[in-house]
Symmetry: C2
Subunit: 387 residues, 2 copies
């Protein structure tokens, strides 16, 4: 199968719609031309709708990792205490990022696959004065979805800034920035927003911007300083650094698609597909990494049955035209991860389940081939008839 016809079912980058690809390929215009400025302005307004915020947003050239760092570097000063909640690879990475900016990083770890416990977070916060709390909503390494609404309540109660990483959820799961009190919500373009990688995306509450303004130490970065970008993000006809024109065209087109689908319908599609995925894996007999009731709608990580090797499995999947991801960190070689977010369709899911079944069977795992696809179809049928 041609590489360009493969289904990209990793937890990012995800499949990009042809209309977004065509938008990416529009002739590059001046970054201050009226047509580009109007597109950029519209995209920023639409992003606020997806984030459910009336606060400020930032969209700049960079990866999700830059967005993580930008969240920290603006509000954290060298001696600030910061609580980093981690239950996966990207939570751990966030602690590494924070350690570049303060010696007061404190990591609260939970077992990979388990959700973060809001009570434990509360205990930690009561024991010390934290400037900020950082949580990864869905850690791409496990597919656990932390209980953001409850964690936000605990964090705000203690008066700390709440920094939330929604790299693997925004655009596929409901994130209510203003209602929940998320001070900085950050993501990348290449996951449930279904744009190629290359954009760092953040929101900032009034409290976050105040923390930036009131800080004593200078922000140890020129490119990441909220203050430098704020005038541009409020009026894209202004200049700070050249925006990634073509990426913004693609981003704007994807946001149009997201809002045309409707956020609630989009979240329901993600829920239906995630449920079908889990039914299928259960029928096939694979264990899911994330604990029950706290599983993400955007991706699923599953353990290999004994005897099935990671490389052989993913190689077989690729020959079936489906790209899935292996494990990260302590789960390397033990699990595979499937992204089902952004533009994912029931057809994509059924094809993926089919390839998983064929591959496992070829690799000697014994089960009733077809049962997974059957379970997925039944689950999808229920979800869509109920809707």
């Amino acid at each position: 199968m041609s590489a360009e016809r493969q289904l990209v079912m990793i937890p990012g980058p995800t499949n990009v719609d042809p209309s977004v690809l065509r938008a990416l390929a529009r002739p590059t215009t001046s970054h201050v031309s009226p047509s580009f400025v109007a597109t950029f302005r519209g995209a920023l307004e639409n992003l606020k709708k997806v984030m459910k915020t009336s606060g400020d947003v930032f969209v700049i050239a960079g990866s999700g990792t830059l967005a993580m760092e930008m969240a920290v570097s603006n509000v954290v000063e060298p001696d600030d205490k910061v609580l980093v909640v981690s239950n996966g690879y990207f939570g751990d990475r966030f602690a590494d990022v924070v350690s570049r900016f303060t010696d007061g990083a404190e990591k609260l770890s939970f077992e990979w696959g388990k959700a973060a416990d809001p009570h434990k977070i509360k205990e930690k916060l009561e024991a010390g004065k934290h400037k900020a709390v950082i949580v990864v909503h869905v850690d791409t390494s496990t597919g656990v979805a932390n209980d953001i609404c409850e964690i936000a309540r605990v964090v705000k109660e203690q008066g700390a800034l709440f920094i939330l990483d929604t790299v693997c959820s925004l655009g596929g799961m409901d994130i209510r920035v203003d209602e929940w009190g998320i001070d900085i919500c950050l993501t990348g373009s290449q996951k449930a927003l279904a744009v190629p990688p290359g954009l760092a995306i953040l929101s900032a509450s009034k409290e976050a911007l105040d923390a930036r303004i009131k800080r004593k130490a200078k922000v140890p970065s020129y490119y990441m300083d909220f203050e430098n970008w704020l005038p541009v993000m409020r009026d894209p006809s202004k200049y700070f650094a050249t925006p990634p024109v073509n990426m913004i065209y693609g981003f704007a087109q994807s946001l149009e698609m997201i809002l045309n689908e409707g956020l609630e319908k989009r979240f329901a599609r993600h829920i239906a597909i995630a449920r079908a995925m889990r039914s299928a894996l259960g029928e096939i007999g694979l264990g899911i990494v994330a604990e029950e009731n706290r599983r993400a709608d955007t991706m699923t990580a599953a353990y290999y049955p004994s005897g099935v090797e990671d490389e052989a499995f993913r190689g077989s999947m690729a020959r079936h035209g489906i790209v899935v991801a292996g494990g990260l960190g302590q789960l390397r070689g033990k699990i595979f991860r499937v992204g089902h977010m952004g533009n994912v369709s029931p057809n994509d899911l059924v094809a993926t389940i089919g390839a998983i079944e064929a591959s496992l069977s070829q690799l000697g795992y014994s089960f009733e081939v077809g049962a997974g696809a059957g379970a997925a179809l039944e689950s999808l049928g229920k979800s869509y008839s109920a809707g």
Copy 2:
């Protein structure tokens, strides 16, 4: 005229070739897929040819401003003395960037429009122990081309690291990273490399990497740390942060075009077009901002004749389908700037001169309309018959 048919003649972003736009629109693949990894690897190798280096290179999601900051943040420690040579807006901005990382930033300013004087740089270096010297090759605000070969000699003689900003030159003018001893050469994608904005591009010599390794203070950034990227840049099948897949496809295609044209032929094209531009402006009677013999081949900034207003002129140019830029900083309102780099052709130049003549005439400036185009054609004819 349709906005997409306008000629983008600003000093970046520049006109992007349709084949690069098509490459940008390729289906987004996994960042660790064999096909993407091969493309990325090839692009990095081709970039080394354009930079004339056998050292390490870095290509990451970000703007040219991020590349400026990444150069500084890796090698400059909090108390290091750094000499920032400035003869324009971006030299001044570089001093601002440096001030985030050390209190030892020292700015050596030259009049805008004049080249930096290597003797003055030498004097400064002899008077103090500088860790690094930063020079902007072509400051986009004026179009002066500093004498890099000579400045590099002076800097290396004093044992300082030489950081060179080639945002407005690499890919259009000869930059010999290894031969001249440039420790960090940085640029963005959207100028003479003729890719849309969105990539930060750097080279690093062994001395620059050593300075990173031997530093005592931690690099105050996770995303910008050379050490984090080095394994990926040496072997793109490795992961640090998700690379901007589609931008890399476009970048790879543009580098293929650059090397297919041939570097020497490409530089000759830039020289011929720049010369024709200057002949035309001279004939029209406009003063050029950059001093003679130190004018860039990639762009030209010219003073308005008295009575011609910036906004009216650029508005008229846009109605003729040609986008040119206004002045920055102290030159705002006084000059216009024309980029002639990357994919620029003699046709683009003649059309631009035509629109300049028509606009100036309509705005009441008195001169022999057509003389500029005639001079440009004569100059181009000489350059190409000589070649």
